[in-house]
Amino acid sequence: MKPKTIAVVGAAETTRMGRIPDMSVIGLHADAALNALADCGLKPSDIDGVATAGASPVDLAHYLGITPTYADGTSVGGCSFMLHVRHAAAAINEGLCNTVLITHGESGRSRVGAGRFGGSASSLAGQFEMPYGPSGPPTMFTIPVLRYMKTYGVTEEDLAMVAVVQREWAAKNPHAVYRAPLTMEEYLAAPLVADPLSRYDCVPVVAGAQAIIVARPDRAPKGRPGVRVRAHRASYNYDNQEGDGLQTGISTFAAALWQEAGVRPDDIDVASIYDDYPTMVLAQANDLGLIPGNDLARFCRVTIGEKRFPVNTWGGMLSAGQPGGHAGGLNGISEAVLQLQHRAGERQVKDARLAVTTGYGMTMYRYGGTAAAAILERVE
């Protein structure tokens, strides 16, 4: 094993997911953290690094009674938690700390009446976007969707496959908020939110939290396979918002990611691709090189539709829900860890050994400006 190897040694979510009116946001973070610690046989005092977004990492340390030597509050939307993993790996290798707790949690309902979307009236978004009526991420991130469909020849029925198949996975996840089967007819008949997007293109906001623990592989419990971070890359503001929004920052580093990992897209057994909207799954998968010949329609109908390649096996945020506010992003990593440890229950992908996970987020001026991806590997 390489000397700088970092692993995800523990992963868990809150004891309950969905509606949790009796727990505060910080309480959700702590509940997931304690479950993740129990998952890998560690105690709070074993943690010397803390990372989270939304909440303050120092508030979380205080709440848990931890005195860390490392804290990371990087907060750039749905990509934050992928970046916490990246920063934790660098910090451990630099000797800043040894064992990092990463949490994400939101009380979905508490967002009601939260600060206005889009920032102050004198910010760039306040001057050049908000006067035209965006009312939240579904009316901002999604503007390129029609262009996407025209450029790549993707239909509503193609896009539906992403949501429909993720719902099939969700049926096998006891914590998913939507578990009943979703038919193509139901998808196409759903009320419009931001035409062409309808209800099932948008993630349900839920209460809950996830936590993972990143450390050297020898911190993993005896007898359980570790999950090594084989490669990790990130990109910020990759096209200065001057492109067409049909690619992501993943396009800038995909070749380097695969090279560092020493594997190819064909080798991947399971993928967790940040699914704020179905088109974004396709954009990231395409940038990663998972879609031969850029044939997005075929990828939807055959690769996803016929379940030839498992994507977002916990149901994704589209079916399992997104702990609101700072967006999900940690749930995809948690799922990949469970799959690689062969602990994913009914939804286990047989013999899963390699996973790719991504994050995408932070609306800047029109579309997501931050992207990250990692290749994770089962280590016996």
Partner: protein, 136 residues
């Protein structure tokens, strides 16, 4: 209905909003490199970092690049669905806007439709640049 959310100009963007008030869509470009026009406004070139930039009146012509039709109108935007659009200007940059002078339906809003700027006065300081289907 609450008043519409309006921009609050800063010193770096004042020329743009003054232009809208005067019925002129003003862009900026660098005089030191070939990077071309850019938007939103800033007092330096985003391609080379030079502060030697100029403001000039754009053609006001463009094409409808993409959009969504918001079916859950923001309270200050009324009760009917409206398109939130991005227009690609003839000079290159893209900007967010609303499309006026046509129904807010997919049928009336084909991608790549030619559009022209029009200014809608909101108060003594602010006119918003909207776009309408090009005539002829």
């Amino acid at each position: 209905m609450p008043p519409r959310m309006l921009p609050e100009p800063t010193p770096e963007t004042r020329h743009f909003w003054d232009g809208c008030k005067a019925g002129e869509l003003r862009l900026q470009r660098c005089t030191e490199c070939d990077g071309g026009s850019y938007f939103p406004p800033r007092p330096f070139c985003p391609y080379c970092g030079s502060r030697k930039v100029e403001v000039y009146p754009a053609s006001g012509k463009g094409v409808l690049w993409s959009y969504v039709i918001n079916h859950r109108p923001r309270p200050d935007m009324g009760t009917e669905p409206y398109a939130i659009a991005v227009v690609k200007l003839a000079e290159g940059p893209k900007m967010m806007t609303n499309i006026v002078g046509c129904p807010q339906t997919p049928q009336a809003l084909p991608l790549d439709m030619a559009v022209t700027v029009t200014f809608a006065k909101q108060n003594d300081d602010i006119s918003l640049p909207f776009f309408e289907p090009a005539k002829g």
